[in-house]
Subunit: 225 residues, 2 copies
DNA sequence: GTTGTATGAATGAAGG
DNA sequence: CCTTCATTCATACAAC
C-alpha cells in the first residue's frame, strides 16, 4: 500500500476539519436563505405572483389610468359595502354558511366578489367592532369611544382614534438569527478569522449579508487540492 | 515519508471533484439567494415585517409608552414551519398522539412550541387546505361592471377593479419540495447522485430551488472523512 | 416619498 | 372534524 500513496492526494485532519466546517457553513446559509425567501414569497406574494420570478412591472404605471391592475386584495364596491352593512344591521349576526353563499351571489351582481370575501368581511367587521368597544381603560385621557352606529355607510370616519397599534413587527429578527448561526459555526471551526474590511452595517438586513460575506472563503482551500 | 502516510486520510480524485462541485453549488446558491433577497427588500421592504416567532422582545424594554405587547399566540419559526410541512407532506395524514409528542420534541429544538401547537397546526392546516380546494370550478359570475360609477356619487372613488382571483397557491409545490429537501438533509442517507453542474440559472426563484434540489448530498461524502 | 390608518386576508386557538 | 373567535400580517389609500 505504500506505493499507492503516490497516486492519491492527501489532506491532513486539519484541512479536512476546515473543509467540513466550510461545507456546513454553506449548507446552513443556503438553508436559511431558501427558507427566508420562501417565507417572503409566501407572505408578500401570496396572491398575485408577480414579484421575483423576474421583473416586477408596476401595473399602475403601465396603463395611464384605469385598472388593468391585478389587485391583490378585494376592495368592495361602494354598493357592495352598502349592501353588506345593511345585511349586517338587519340583525342576523350570524352570517352562516348558507347565507354567505346567497349574499355572495347577490353581491356578485355588483362587482367581483367571492364567498371568502364576504366571510372575511363579516368576520373582520364583528371583530373590530368589538375591539373598539374594548378601549375604555385609558387612565387619564380623552373621550370614551361612544358607540358609533355604523349604519351610515359611505363615509370615512377620520377620528383621532387612540388606537395605539404598537405592532412590534420584528423585521430584523431573521437577520439576527442567521448571524448567530454563522457565528456559532465559526466558533465551532475556530480556524478562520473574518477577513477585515467589516464595515459596520447600518442596517440589520445588511448584517446578515455581511455575516455571509465574512464567512470563510472556499477558494483558498480549494487551492490546496 | 512513508510513515506519514499512515497519519493522513486520503481521498481520490473523484471524491475531490465531487467535493469541489458541491462546494461550488453551495456557493452559487448562496449568492443567488442573497441576490434574490436583496431584490425583494429593495422593491418592497418598506417595513415588511417577517413574522418569526421564537424570539420576543421583552416588553419592559419598550419605549416610554405603554402597552405590554407580549406575544400571546404561538408563531412558528420558519424552520419549524418547514419541518411541519415536510411532515405533513410525507403522507401520514394522521399525526397520532404519539407522533405529536415526538414532533413537538423535535421542533422544540428550534423554538418554543407545545404539543397543542402542533396539534392545532395540523388541524387547521388540513381543514383549510381542504376548504381551499373546494374553490375551483365555479365559472363564477361575470359581473356587470357598468354600474360602478353611478351608484354612489357622493363618496371617494372606489375602483371597481376586476380582480381576477388569480390562483390559490396557498401551498406552492416548490415550497413543499424545499421543505422535504431540507428535512432530508438532516438525515443521513445513502444515495449520492452527482452531476455537480451547478447549472447557474438565472435569478428565477423556482430555478434556484431546482438547483438546490439537484444539489448533491453532503452527508454521504462527509461520512468518508 | 413618508407616515399613519383602515381593512382584506391569514392563521393560531377554542368549543362543539 | 367543523365552526368561530382573536390576533396578526400586508396593503391600499390618505394626509403630511
Amino acid at each position: 500500500t505504500v506505493e499507492r500513496v503516490l497516486f492519491v492526494k492527501v489532506m491532513t485532519d486539519e484541512q479536512m476539519e476546515v473543509l467540513r466546517s466550510q461545507i456546513a457553513v454553506y449548507a446552513t446559509i443556503s438553508e436559511q436563505l431558501i427558507e427566508m425567501h420562501k417565507f417572503v414569497n409566501a407572505h408578500q406574494d401570496s396572491l398575485a405572483g408577480m414579484r421575483l420570478g423576474g421583473i416586477y412591472v408596476d401595473p399602475l404605471t403601465a396603463s395611464g389610468g384605469r385598472k388593468l391592475t391585478a389587485r391583490q386584495r378585494w376592495i368592495p364596491t361602494s354598493i357592495q359595502l352598502q349592501m353588506l352593512e345593511t345585511i349586517l344591521n338587519q340583525g342576523n349576526g350570524t352570517p352562516s354558511k348558507q347565507k354567505i353563499k346567497h349574499i355572495t351571489i347577490e353581491l356578485s351582481q355588483h362587482g367581483q366578489i367571492s364567498e371568502s370575501n364576504v366571510y372575511n368581511w363579516f368576520q373582520n367587521r364583528r371583530a373590530r367592532s368589538k375591539q373598539k368597544q374594548k378601549m375604555a381603560a385609558l387612565p387619564s385621557n380623552y373621550e370614551s369611544e361612544i358607540e358609533t352606529n355604523e349604519d351610515s355607510p359611505n363615509e370615512k370616519k377620520l377620528r383621532p382614534d387612540k388606537n395605539v397599534p404598537v405592532n412590534i413587527s420584528s423585521d430584523p429578527i431573521y437577520s439576527v438569527q442567521i448571524s448567530a448561526e454563522v457565528y456559532l459555526l465559526n466558533q465551532t471551526q475556530g480556524i478562520y478569522q473574518s477577513s477585515g474590511s467589516s464595515k459596520s452595517c447600518g442596517s440589520l438586513d445588511q448584517m446578515s449579508y455581511e455575516s455571509f460575506l465574512s464567512t470563510p472563503r472556499l477558494d483558498p482551500l480549494m487551492d490546496k487540492f
